[in-house]
Symmetry: C2
Subunit: 552 residues, 2 copies
């Protein structure tokens, strides 16, 4: 296999570990935990894994003797930088427990467990993947482990391979499912522990014990690099407004962190839009007002960051989408719905069939977007929100608004646009030093929890704005993060998704600076992720974490 | 001004110089030069600047005494990483000649000279821009310096500021114009020297004496970083084909170099398409064949690189675009052209008015693209080729082709697409060590040529695959790179544009490996540009240059 010069040099990197994980480890157990809400329900659903204590690791004195243990690992859901290092951490960790331990990887996500599709991850095989991005070591997948039939099918292969512990590397839903699986195997006395690891670039799996999910640091740094470069271009050419949509599903953590790293002119935060119950028109109005102010200063350029999930946080759009989903019902083909309706009349035809409020919004949309809302539906007949080009929607509406104002003589500037969507560019980047270290520590932590016979825990590594040496590693019961939420019409126990908190320090910092950044050109250029060089350039994690820690 | 941690650390970087430029410089003049073609015409047009010798710098022994000199500098055309370092090199160079020398920057490109819009670049002002990307130090612009009236207007301010030399940092056209200006001022005995510097990320300003234009190294490395990350994602998720269009105007140097750095499955080269006179259908056929082969191996994913200028290199598309430009004539509004033509009939209306061959091509295009070809025209009524989303055009046509084959049972795979266009992400990146050093050397070289009273020269720094210490600096007469070409109906002296050579080593290397890369997954992941770390990671330049040098 030919590899790049960077890959070659980076393969030599030895991830840093907290001092508690370097030698013998001593476990310190806290008091019993409770779930964040709905304690009675969660306790009933998880009789075997509820109420366990928080575990903190400290430096131990004498090395315990461990038996060899076979461990299985699963990568679940979207890619995030550092997954390979979690696996390296588990591997090195269980080998440290006992050199005869073995690691198996289930292929293509949770489906690999159910389908008995796996490989043994040997030292030699692993070597090429240390400190690299991607999930290609065993692949990932989006199959959800939710049914007991799946759990039983999985148990067959776990038994066959004599696997005593399974590590599930995934986001909030995958970790919820990991906990259900832990409970099921515990109730069944199946002899299989289940440990979770917090993964997602979206940053929405975090709480008091999980400061950040892995991959967030690296992915946002890649986006911030690109945003910074584009800002420099905007400020050099002085002729375009760049509208940049950023991946991150519902939560706006990525957009917020990217903004803190680059200081763009406009930053939309979905959670703020929902809180203020903003209309699409108000958002367009706000964006146009900044374009106008900058134009008055002679600056016919700028950069706007737009979170991927915005549309669904605009109350009127959410209602419109709901009504369209009802109208263009499940399973019905577009051709059938519109049978006998002239193409040029379709839009009006739709508008007449929905509420007056929604019709007004629908009529105000640019035609390309209106088409996306009515034509591009998923197999269940639902609008595919992730396919809506929100950046173009807003760009076109701002343009229309400015044209109106120009006619009245209230806008004299120019408004040219360039559109970008960043997501795939960052999900598989080679992990930053932070993510390389953090992931390796999470994996090592998992191995210690396995050695100690724990189940239903998530690896937790805290104090992450300090040097790695001083990070606090341990385990947190997954049930502790749970509450009951309605999903597909049923109340389910789930890990609370962390949206951007409007009383949190990162958002407040944005708010305190956003107006200044809007009119002044205060761009920061973070540049590409550095693996070598001064520590303040190559080892620090996100501004979000820094501000959150400082506020504590 | 707040700056990022990287900016802070990077500001300390001292660019490396060839040893000939470190102390006193000795000039070695070669024999008289001739233009690459049309010698008589070029000689007639440039009586004062034709036939000058190539100049090579060597280490000198005794430091000459120079008088103070005032110098002007212009950034012309699109941004390229390293422009600020060219200016730093000029500044430090003329200060080394004489501490009382001054540097003036004309603002917003060549227009700044004509409009007398300038600033003095002081040591203090310059400090914040060393080793940074962008052209924001004085801005750039696309005004062309072609008219004598402009030259005379420029001379007024040059005289007023007592400027003895002007450095034009630009691409092939800007350097052509710099030479015309040098000739004009020389003929007029105006006492103003003009020196050019080779800038463009497109890589199409190169020849025997100019190994590469600055910015190409950095920009392609940014694109290669992103392509590598996307490849890793494709190979992890295994569900998308990513169609990636790359900036680079007519030439495919960027796409070729990016391919050599990343080894994607499909790399289209415009020059090859033109040479083989490929039709759009043949290109689609070729791409579909690779999708099919990979699907047969179970790989329903891949990455395809598409050069920005492709469309115009497909002979039948070039003809179609020409016919559309004639049909949808200059100055006529779309609304007027299509007056009385039903929207749904417009396409057929157009098809009936062009040649049968072009009509066939036009009818085969996806409707979105057909619209772009007929509706989005520039103020002269011409199709705006740069706005055509070639990546989507090809993606949709490949999808249609595969759907046909699937019906016949000849394609059983899946084909999901993601589209990307990379350009603005790389033009203003902070320069790589190579570009930082190369640009600083080009600027320093310009200062030496100025000190020696030269005009009509371009800064030349060669042997660039060796350590900077051993680079060969000097000057090459711009007339030496010229030939006569037809532009807007007239024969003009211009610098030959360097397209990808199909008998050149880089293209031949691609050709020797492309089929293997197509079916095997041989992705390379170059990662982000590194400024610190092992020299083989952070100091080497492009594969193109390496292969070209090795072939010499």
């Amino acid at each position: 296999m030919t590899i790049s010069a960077l890959q070659k040099a980076r393969a030599q990197y030895q991830p840093k570990l907290p001092k508690s994980l370097k030698g013998a480890v001593k476990l310190v157990e806290g008091t019993a935990t409770e779930s964040v809400a709905d304690q009675e329900d969660i306790k009933d659903l998880f009789p075997n894994t509820y109420g366990m204590p928080i575990i903190t690791f400290e430096e131990g004195t004498d090395a315990e003797k461990f038996s060899a243990v076979n461990v299985g690992v699963i990568l679940s859901g979207g890619q995030a930088p550092g997954g390979h290092n979690v696996i390296s951490g588990i591997f090195d960790g269980i080998k440290k427990l006992n050199a005869d331990s073995k690691l198996y990887g289930f292929l293509g996500g949770p489906g690999g467990l159910v389908d008995h599709d796996y490989i043994e991850i040997t030292a030699e095989y692993l070597e090429a993947y240390r400190n690299t991005g991607g999930f290609d070591i065993i692949g990932s997948g989006r199959t959800k482990l939710e049914e007991e039939a799946q759990f039983d099918k999985g148990l067959e292969i776990l038994k066959k391979l004599d696997i005593k512990a399974l590590v599930v590397i995934g986001g909030d839903d995958s970790n919820t499912n990991a906990c259900v699986l832990a409970e099921y195997y515990a109730a069944k006395k199946a002899g299989v522990q289940v440990i979770g690891c917090p993964k997602t670039i979206d940053g929405d799996l975090k709480n008091e014990m999980i400061e950040t999910s892995f991959g967030f640091d690296t992915a946002v740094k890649v986006y911030a690099e690109l945003i910074g470069n584009i800002q420099r271009d905007a400020n050099s050419a002085k002729k375009y407004w760049h509208f940049i949509k950023l991946m991150g599903r519902s939560a706006s953590h990525i957009g917020l962190e990217a903004a803190l790293q680059t200081q763009p002119n406009i930053t939309l935060i979905s959670e703020e839009v929902a809180e203020k119950k903003q209309t699409l028109d108000e958002i367009v109005e706000y964006m146009a007002s900044i374009v106008i102010k900058r134009a008055e200063n002679g600056d016919n350029f700028g950069v706007a960051l737009i979170p991927e999930g915005l549309i669904e946080f605009i109350p009127e759009m959410k209602i419109l989408i709901g009504e369209l989903n009802d109208l263009l019902a499940e399973g019905t083909k577009t051709a059938e719905i519109f049978q006998g309706v002239k193409r040029s009349y379709r839009r009006e035809w739709v508008a007449e069939k929905i509420s007056a409020e929604s019709a007004a919004v629908f009529r105000s949309l640019p035609s390309g977007i209106a088409n996306q809302l009515t034509l591009d539906r998923d197999p269940h007949g639902n609008v595919q929100v992730s396919l809506i080009e929100t950046e173009k929607l807003l760009g076109e509406m701002v343009k229309a608004k400015l044209a109106e104002l120009a006619e009245k003589g209230e806008f004299k500037g120019k408004f040219g646009t360039q559109y970008h969507f960043f997501g795939y560019e960052g999900r598989c980047a080679a992990p930053s030093n932070f993510d390389a270290d953090y992931c390796y520590s999470l994996g090592t932590t998992a191995s210690v929890l396995i050695g100690e016979g724990k189940t239903g825990y998530m690896s937790s590594v805290r104090n992450t704005t300090s040097p790695a040496e001083d990070w606090i590693a341990g385990g947190v019961p997954i049930t502790q993060m749970m509450n009951m939420e309605r999903r597909h019409g049923h109340m389910k126990p789930v890990i609370q998704k962390a949206l951007v908190e409007l009383d949190g320090a990162p958002y407040k910092y944005l708010l305190a600076n956003r107006d200044k950044w809007a009119t002044e050109t205060s761009y920061l250029y973070p540049g590409p992720i550095q693996y070598w060089g001064p520590s303040e350039v190559c080892d620090l994690t996100t501004v979000t974490l820094k501000l959150e820690q400082e506020a504590k």
